[in-house]
């Protein structure tokens, strides 16, 4: 596989890592970065993450063979619509948004060429932001979900899957709504919980040194960008709610066990948590 022009819209941690990985694997003849600010893009070009920069999304679309949208989930739909109407028929568009149902439905119902778009979600990234943290091996061995609906082009899915595999990822196909239900549990509820745990702490400065690695691990993702994550959690709130209710039921049982000082119940709750965590692996 060789892409003549690969365009990355939004050159941050994910977009920058796609650029680095594509360069390292010689996946594209030319990599164009689209952003809002030349000042932010120019140093990324100098570091060799992208070859060319532009602020003109429609202009870039007209010259692209594959476009990857790495912008916040509440901007992706509008940007794909602009790009899709300017791109050539053979150009494929995908995104890296953490929610999929709303994005995929909106694009498929917006009247363009639905064959040109396939939703993606690479399960990679961190609480860090910006191309400064980009890594060529960010996708190595990581799962990328590629969404498939009744309207998705089989040929487009095959090409987008190949694209991610070339970057080192393991690709799974999934219905967008199922993706959102599963991610509500595996990503969005953990983020919410880490944030709530962090927010519920009331510690004096000198007590902060009593924070061991458990608290650091458990709350690490709470350092993520609130604006970015508010967009994700807001977009998927319908699916996150039942997951949150399930967590609250477990916490009800914890509270009862602690109030009774019931050591057996405490141990049984811990056993349940361990069972899932051991199954999850490292």
């Amino acid at each position: 596989m060789l892409v003549a022009t690969l365009t990355i819209v939004g050159v941050g941690l994910l977009g920058g890592s796609i650029g680095l990985a594509a360069k390292e694997r010689k996946l594209a003849s030319r990599i164009v970065g689209v952003g809002r600010s030349r000042e932010r893009l120019e140093p990324a070009r100098q570091r060799g993450i992208i070859d060319e920069i532009t602020l003109d999304l429609a202009g870039a679309a007209a010259e692209s063979d594959i476009m990857v949208f790495c912008t916040p989930v509440d901007q992706i739909i509008r940007q794909i619509q602009i790009a899709a109407s300017a791109s050539r028929p053979a150009c494929l568009l995908t995104d890296v948004g953490s929610t999929k149902r709303h994005i995929v439905e909106s694009i498929e119902n917006s009247g363009g060429n639905p064959a040109s778009f396939v939703g993606s979600h690479p399960l990679a990234g961190s609480e860090k932001q910006g191309w400064e943290f980009a890594q060529a091996n960010l996708f190595q061995g990581r799962t990328v979900v590629v969404t498939v609906t009744t309207r998705t082009s089989t040929a487009a899915v095959a090409r987008i899957k190949e694209f991610w595999r070339m970057l080192g990822a393991v690709v799974v196909e999934m219905d967008p709504a199922e993706h959102d239900r599963v991610l509500a549990q595996t990503s969005h509820l953990p983020h919410l919980t880490a944030s709530a745990l962090a927010a519920s702490m009331s510690l004096k400065t000198e007590q902060m040194m009593l924070a061991a690695s458990g608290l650091r691990d458990t709350t690490r993702i709470a350092a993520g960008d609130p604006d970015l994550w508010a967009a994700i959690l807001h977009e998927n709130c319908r699916e996150i709610l039942p997951a949150l209710v399930s967590l609250r039921h477990t916490l009800d049982r914890w509270q009862a066990a602690l109030e009774k000082g019931d050591r057996g119940a405490i141990e049984s709750l811990l056993e349940q948590g361990k069972q899932f965590r051991d199954a999850l692996g490292n």
Copy 2:
């Protein structure tokens, strides 16, 4: 500082790491490991974690200069009482229990020589268990709390602080009840939360690959030993309850924000979590 005979009661991750660190820093002329099973202790001796092994706690106490109790929190009190009545007056006893109020009060009220005991809690360890995971640098730069009450001997505290510093730790003095209040927040609630989050997942096997690093980080400590942690959480349930109630209030606000689809409220909650996490540091 040189300890003639250092005795480690309970040669697991922490006890084993004390042995390795003491050897590396030439802190003791002789290190004795006390346990329940020769079969478990002998390979630790062969690996050079301890010099001698015994199952006879009172016999070991009679020959010790410093004894460190690294057994589960619900066994420490009884073992210290046995050792204290068999040890020489100059022998110092400390422990590594994750809760302190009950242990320190019990020892101080049990009528022995209170000058010989100082409670300790090294904020080090992991979800791993056993001396197989012991590391000589486990305490390097880590916080160790040493408890001080009106009945604690100043000379004993100074010597125990020196002991931990020799192992690389940063020592802070604290009242046992304050220790338990702070640890309820910085360690016990995170453990409970990680466990509850893990237990609330309902995923099919093929959906497990959609678990990104956020879920792994957030639930890592849920893999810890349920028996060990049940003892800790049970012993400190009085202090954990208000911390849990505070978390539940934050989750109430999350649920309301999601039910309303209120993006502003979601972002504001995330900002609060980020504020604490950024202050905590890496």
